[in-house]
Symmetry: C2
Subunit: 459 residues, 2 copies
Amino acid sequence: MVGVMNAAVDFPLTRPELAFTASGDALVRRTVLPNGLRILSEHMPGSRSATIGYWVAVGSRDEQPATADRPATFGSTHFLEHLLFKGTPSRSALDIAVAFDAVGGEHNALTAKEHTCYYAKVRDRDLPMAVDVITDMLTSSLLDPDEFENERGVILEELAMMDDDPGDVANERFFERVLGEHPLGRPIGGHPQSIIDVGRDAVVAHYRANYRANDVIVTAAGAVDHDALVAQVSGALVQAGWPADAVAAPVARRTLAPAAIVGGSPLSVVHRPTEQVHLQIGGAGLIAGDERRFAMSMLNSILGGGMSSRLFQEIRERRGLAYSVYSFAGSYSDAGVFGLAAACSTAKAATVAELMLAELHRLAEHGVTDEELSRALGQLSGASALALEDSDSRMSRLGRAELTLGEFIDLDESIRRLQSVGQDDVQQLAQHLAAQPITVSAVGAVDEDTFAPIIAGVR
Amino acid sequence: MVGVMNAAVDFPLTRPELAFTASGDALVRRTVLPNGLRILSEHMPGSRSATIGYWVAVGSRDEQPATADRPATFGSTHFLEHLLFKGTPSRSALDIAVAFDAVGGEHNALTAKEHTCYYAKVRDRDLPMAVDVITDMLTSSLLDPDEFENERGVILEELAMMDDDPGDVANERFFERVLGEHPLGRPIGGHPQSIIDVGRDAVVAHYRANYRANDVIVTAAGAVDHDALVAQVSGALVQAGWPADAVAAPVARRTLAPAAIVGGSPLSVVHRPTEQVHLQIGGAGLIAGDERRFAMSMLNSILGGGMSSRLFQEIRERRGLAYSVYSFAGSYSDAGVFGLAAACSTAKAATVAELMLAELHRLAEHGVTDEELSRALGQLSGASALALEDSDSRMSRLGRAELTLGEFIDLDESIRRLQSVGQDDVQQLAQHLAAQPITVSAVGAVDEDTFAPIIAGVR
C-alpha cells in the first residue's frame, strides 16, 4: 500500500491539465494513481465531517441502440446504479445499508446524462468506512440475477413516480423536444419499456465497459487528509483485486464542442386532468465549455433566479398568475438547454407562456440595467459562498471540474469572471437565446391548440 | 438603544424556565426584552454565516370558524405569511426581495400547524440587514388591499400545486381522518374555498391579534454575537414604533396535554388516474411533550427510517414492490400522528398496505433486537451531529425548544436520552401504536373496496 502511495503522481497546483487558482478559499490536492484512478480532495479547516463521491464518466447519453451482435443498453446506466447497492462477495445489500445507517451517514447515488456518482456524507471518523464500502460496491458488484429481477420492479416504480409528477414530465419532454435525436435528449432513467426489455447481460456488459479504474474519479471535501485518503482508496482497490498499480492513463474527457441538433420539435403537450399546467418554454442553450457561461449565470439570475427576478416580479408579484416561476439552464459537453418554467391554472396557461417569452424578448431588445447586473453578481457570489460552507458543494465542484472542464475555479476566480460580464454580454446572449427555435412543453388539462398562437408567433 | 439593551433580561443558563444543559456542543444565550420578545442565539465558532428565524406562535390550528360578530379565519395564517412579503411603509415588495437577492441570501417563511416562521440565511456581514428587513415585515406590514387580491391568486395556485401532488394529498387526508374534528386535522393552507372566502378584514384582525412583541421569538445560529443581535433587534423594533420597552410577559406556551380525538375515520380514498397509489396508514401518535418521544425516534428509525429499516428491507429490497417506503411521526402540543407511507403501482396497493401494517404488528408482538437498537442510536446521533453543522438546524432547534418544550436539549443530552431507551420501551410503544384505530389514506387509481379487508381486519 505504501508502494502504491509512492507510485502515485501528485500534480503540483500549477500543472496545466487541471489548473488550480492560488487564491484563498480552496486547499485542493489531486493525485492520479498509476491505474488511472483520480483522487481530488479539498480540506476544510474546522470541519468534523466529510463528503466523498465516486464519479464514473458514464451517463444515459452513452447508452446505445441494439446492433447485430449486442442488445440495446437504454436504461442500463440507472439500472446499474441501483444494482451496485445490492451486494458484493463480501457485503450483502443489508450490510451496505447498515454500514451507513449505523453511523447516521447519508449515502446515495445519482445517474445523470453524462456521469454517475455514488456519494456519502459522514463524520470524519467514518470516512475510511465510506471508502471501503463504496470502493467495494463499485469494483465488485455481484449483479445477482434474482436481485436484478427484484430491482427491475423497484426501478419501474421509480419511473412511475416520476411519471406522476407533472413537473418532471414537462422537463423530460422539454429535453426530448429541444434536443431531438441527440442522445442528451433521452430521459435519464430510460422509458418503462426499455427497463422491461433490458437484460442482465446488457447491464453486465455496460458495467465491465465503463467501470474501470481509469474511468473513476474520487472527490472528497471537509475533514479530509489527502495522503490518508489516497492510502485508503489504494488499499481498498487492492482489497478488491483491482490492481492499484496496473498502468493506465485516465480516460480522456469528453470533447467540449457543440453538436448539431437534428429533429428538435416545437411542441409537446401531455394531457392530464390536473389543476395546474406545468410549462417549460425555451430552446438550445450553451455547452459546458462555452465562454459565455458566466454571462448565462448572470442572465439566469436577472431573468428568473430569485424573488427580485423579472419573471417572478412580472408573473407572480404584479399579476398573481403563478406560484412557481423561474428560468433554468443546463449545460453538457456538446449541447445545452435554456428554459423558462411555470405552473399555473389551465385558464392562465397561454397568458403565462406569452408573458414569459415576452420577458426573454424584452431582455434581448432592451438589455439589463447596471443595478440588475450588480444585484446578480451579489446574488451569485453570496449564494456560492453560503453553499461552499457545506462539504457537499465542494465535493461536487471538484467532480465537475475534473470530469467536464479540466479546470478548477475557486470562489474568488469565479467572482472575478462574473464581474467581467457586462451589459452587452448579457444582452447579446439574450438575443442569441431568443433567436433559437422555441419549444413549448406542457403537462396538464390543455391541448395543442392552446399554444398554437405562440408557436406560430415564434416560428 | 443602549437603554433597551440594558433593560433586557439575560437569563443564566440554569434558569428553570428554559433549561440549558451544560455539555459541550452548544453555546446558547437567551434574552427576554421588557416587551416580552424573546431572543435566543447559538454561536458557532468558525462560522462565516448565520441563520435567523422569527417565530410567531400562531398556526393553522388557531384559525376559527365564523361567529356572530366575526368572519371565519380559516386560511388566514398562511395568507398572512404571504402578505408580509408584500411591503411596509418603508419597503416595497421588490425592496424586500432585492435586499436578500442582492447578497445571495436565502429568505423564506413557512406556516405550520402551531407556528409561523420567517427566516433567512446570510453571510455574517449581512445579518444586521436581515434583522432590519424581517423586523420591518413582521411589525409593519401594509396588507395593501390590491396586493391582497393579487396574492389570493398566488395562494390558490400554491394550493392547486399541492392538490396535484398525490403524496401531499394523501398526507393531508391522513391528518384529517386521523385527527377528526381536532383543529390540528385541518390542512395548513386552508381549502381553496376558504381562501376565496376570506376577507382582508379577517386577515388584518388575525395579524393584530397574533403578531405582538410577546408572541415573537427570534432565534439565530452561526456567526452570531448575542449582545449585538439583541441591540439590532431592539433597534429595529424602535424603528418600527413597536416600543421595545413596553412591558409585557412572553405569551404562555401551549399546554402539553393530550386532547380527546373526536370523529376520526378509518378510510379516505381519492381517486386519481395516476400510475401509482400513494398510501399513508396509521393513527394517533404522541404529543410533543410525551416522555416516550425518544422511544418513538428509535422505533421510527428501526421500522422505517433508512435503507436498513424493516419497511425498506421487506417491501423494497426483498420484494421490489415500491421505490419509496418509510414511517413518520408528527407531534404537536395536544395531539400527534404516526404513520407508514409508500407509493406503489395500483395492483400492488392492497399488498403493500397489508405488509406495512404487518411490520408494525410484528414489532409490537416480537419487539426489536439489541443490534437494531444500537444501530438506531448510531443513526440518530450521527445524523444529528451532521445536521448540527448547519446553522439552519441549530436555529430551528432553538425555536422548537422555546416555542414548544421550554427545555433546550443539546446533542449530548439527546444521545443520553436515546441511550436510555430499551427494547421494552420500543416494544411497548409499538403495542400502543398498533392498538390505535387505524386509518388508511390512499390517492390513486383505487377505490374503497381495495382496502376493505384491511379496515375490516383492524377494526
